[in-house]
Amino acid sequence: MTVEDQRGGNSANEKMFPVGMRVLAVDDDPICLKVLETLLRKCQYEVTTTNQAVTALELLRENRNKYDLVISDVNMPDMDGFKLLELVGLEMDLPVIMLSSHGDKEFVYKGITHGAVDYLLKPVRLEELKNIWQHVIRRKKWCPKDQNRSPNRDKGGDGAGEGEQGATSNGSADQNGKGNRKRKDQDEEDEDEGEDGNENEESGNQKKPRVVWSVELHQKFVSAVNQLGLDKAVPKKILDLMNVDGLTRENVASHLQKFRLYLKRLSCGANQQPNMVAAFGAKDSSYLRMGSLDGFGDFRSVHGSGQLSATSLSSYPPGSLLGRLNSPGGLTLQGASSALLQSGHSRSLNNSLNTLGKLQPGLVQTNRGSTNLFQGISSALEPKPSQFKSMNHIGDFNGKGDATSFTIASCFPDVKVTIGGLSNTISSATNNPQMLHVNPQQIQTRRSLATQSSLSMPSLNQESFDVGVRGSSNFLDHSRCDNNWQGAVQLSTFPSNSLPLGEPFRHDPLPTSTRRDNISSTTSHIVNPLDFSSSGSLTVPLDMQGQADLVGNIFHNTNYTSKNRWGESSQNYNPCLNGQFGSMSQSMEQRKRFDASVLGQSNSGTQSMFQHLEAENSALDPKMMSNEEFLLEQTKPPNGFVQNNYDSLDDMVNAMIKRV
């Protein structure tokens, strides 16, 4: 049996398993360690304990086959628990369970994205420990299978792969390995639920080849599905049609499942702002309310790879898109998302653009300026100080030559066009796969909206824009965008601004900090063109949240800002925002800070905030905000958000930039 093959030294009899399972427990707290040891012994496991992470590593390196499972505390003095987790996953491919006294969502998220198979809270109960052997079995069951596959298989489930992977699934093993590592570093990808069966949750597991659903691959997939007809599309046939090396039926099956979910979401979530919000919150990227490829975005998020190409969009019924567009002005640029963003593959962008172009007519209907533009497309466009560079980028991407779409881009100045090929959205490219289809006409109005996620709020446009932008180094762009946005905001109040919601861009491998920056910048300018000179201040708070909260935060902020500051700004979004964003697990404090920062009203606070955020930021690894998370949390408007204690947004922005 594989178990024995892999764990050569497995002393436990197969039949007796889990009795005798060998566990290594690491915790610097002697009390917890002792209790844990006793509990594990009670479960009849073989327990080895150590209170030092380095010792644990030594023990593991000495003989990896001596252990079946590792349980590790998160907070340890000599080494961060997450780091240990990564190393163990990388080197030894052992399942690791994290243990912590508090279950803050961000920590849990971090744990899971770093590859933990489980996250337990102290005090650990016997019942929980009785079940931990399942992780061992799961790993053994799937690992050999994956390893037998061609090394080219790189699962893009982590979404992290989107940008950096860029490569097709046929990438070399090295590439996969590197990609995995990079992906892991960039992290944040939320593991797709659908992938459970096929792949290990641990993203960092180098040994497990994963399929990266790159834009091209997905296009192939979509065309195959279209050929067969959605109803008749079975994995086997799709696989045959796609004719891709190293792809297995299981990969296709799980991808198909996600695709279907995405489509469902597309059709269900139309026309409702709350939908959008919900969408955003939902992993599925329903965030793209904007009628446009919400589903697509969802799909991406579900997919985890965030590499849905625009082409996939084309497969979606335009009608649904249109419907969506109404409210948010749903420009959703899809496909290009992370992949585009990250790698700036013009190819994919073109593709996506093309797709978008097709969709555009349908999309045009949305009047609101909510341009979901490119939320996800962050990296695709490099942040340039020039305001309209985004346009340029878009132009590059716009294979189809859809000038109209680009006009929108022009609206958004620096916006790091996350468009990833979506001409419309200036979205600061957070890898969100959001595809914003921007109607040319809409674009005009939308300019300000450019925010990726069609934020219903007109003012939000900017914000959303930023939000979408999140991501990546576009932080700089944000600041610039802010400037631009200010003008844009004035252009029109787009109630439907779909919040760019970093959410859809969950797959965004971009570090959360960047994302945050983006968001903050967006929020900043949306709130008040006047107020936010620099989006940077906003971004700061974003960092704090790092994760999906961005979107949520942004929304919050926008809500607040709009509410507080600009009574005149359409309050449309407020309700939208509130409803839409699920509660993001971000700590309230963070959110508050974020809000405060968003307001960016006073520059005084920024400096302090920045520092504070920085500290916090350092604590958090960059994470991709999962779409779900974005919308998930909805924090009540912080009272203090109207803090005008930022010394200078510019300072903050600068600081942020440096940080970034």
């Binding site: 707290d29 209790v35 003095p77 508090h102 102290k122 005090p123 650990v124």
Partner: protein
Amino acid sequence: MLGWGVDRLRADMSRLLAILFHQGVLDEQFLQLQQLQDESSPNFVSEVVNIYFHESEKLFTKSQGPTCKTDGYCDCRLDREFSDYKKMGIHLNQFMGSSSSIGANRVRNVCVAFRAASEQNNRAGCLRALELLEHEYCYLKNKLHELFQMEQQRVLAAGARYPLQQQQQQQH
């Protein structure tokens, strides 16, 4: 006579435990610890609790020389200056983890509040939480000591029974 003492001790212990559970000082985790105590580890609960007290003492001592330097990277954990919120947070986390592991419910709750206050850099809140923490900790310590004393007496009393019984048996 001794037997009677044993029973009474046992009753007293049960009553004390009931009170502590009722007050929320202890929770079911403590029960689980008791369940883990068996022939292979007869003094498990008291051992764990003693370690807990020993470790926690360090948290409350002020930075006065070597007594406080346990891990070397922080000299004063929960002092009143709250100089370093981050470090405090780290210590608090550990304290929270160990408190919850032994079932010290109230202590753990205060830790949570303390942590929240420190994250917000709320000095007043931290001060208040620290006071409360010390209070709860002392209370817990006293009660648990009492409990263990009773346990020891009970064991002694029960042990003293056997010789008596043997004598009685021999007599019969």
